[in-house]
Chain length 196, copies 2
Amino acid sequence: MNPRLFSFLAGPHGAWRITRISSVVGEILPPAPYLELVAGEVAHPAASTPPFLPAPADAGWRLRGVVSNERYVTRDEKTELVAKQEGLGRAEASCAALIPIRKNAAWWAMTQDERRRLFEEQSKHIRIGLPFLPAIARRLHHCRDLPTPEPFDFLTWFEYAPADAPAFEELVRQLRATPEWTYVEREVDVRLERVV
Amino acid sequence: MNPRLFSFLAGPHGAWRITRISSVVGEILPPAPYLELVAGEVAHPAASTPPFLPAPADAGWRLRGVVSNERYVTRDEKTELVAKQEGLGRAEASCAALIPIRKNAAWWAMTQDERRRLFEEQSKHIRIGLPFLPAIARRLHHCRDLPTPEPFDFLTWFEYAPADAPAFEELVRQLRATPEWTYVEREVDVRLERVV
């Protein structure tokens, strides 16, 4: 198994309780009570259902993605990020968000310099995020180049303490107002609380 | 299936006859008589062998990769490439090369600006290739972010007419002499001729 592959399994069990699922743009994800974040590959919760029976409505869903090399950040930006950011799994970070995003064909038809210009010079994606470090930890997973067609291009997982919940709202509000976000054709916002 | 996924299946059958397999750096691939280039996923040629029997030595091998968005090319470079390049499958292009490459950890630890600088400003990867268009057609497949650990990061497939074989030798000679190539830790060179 690729050690950079992670699966997000929503269903009847999990270390995170799903408190809210909302659609920002496009089709929403089905409701589910819990989510498990698993290193590696896991079967879809409905996979054991024989194919001649429809999966039960509460069978949940599975998303997966691979942590990859960084696509836009420069060395100077990376130095600034690394100096401030913290990792996942902090004891106090009992709030989480899973934000799956799909960008449109116009985004993917752009060349690297065009995408970088929109991402940072015009939208200040990295610049917007910096003041929210180290409070908000994040990990980005790529799905677009998996062998199976995936419903999203990216899955971003965020962790923060309850006291930083207003800051997180402000972060997503600012990002969604950027020119980069006009290329987002599907975005779901899943909020969670750690069970234990 | 992801429509950008392609499998390279070496074994007893295929539309391309393998004329030579050589190692440029690192471990070579096993010998095989033919290669099939297939859209989508295919089983490994030894997959039907029960696990309690070792796969026969001539069972062949399978590599797969996904055509992705471009990672380095700028709009100006892309315009120049598109004006000159031709696609795969030309009747006269009965020669092919499959060149699987793995880059080292130092390459992948670099940020985007550092990789771009090495790729083009220092190594002139795009600039070196341009004079060989349209004679040599190519398609790049990415493997590093597949769910399974893959032996290579990239698979590049080239097609050209027999008369352009010396030009192809010159192209790979020039690329292998660049600073970018000091980050290549495994490279195999598979040459082929179309059967029909």
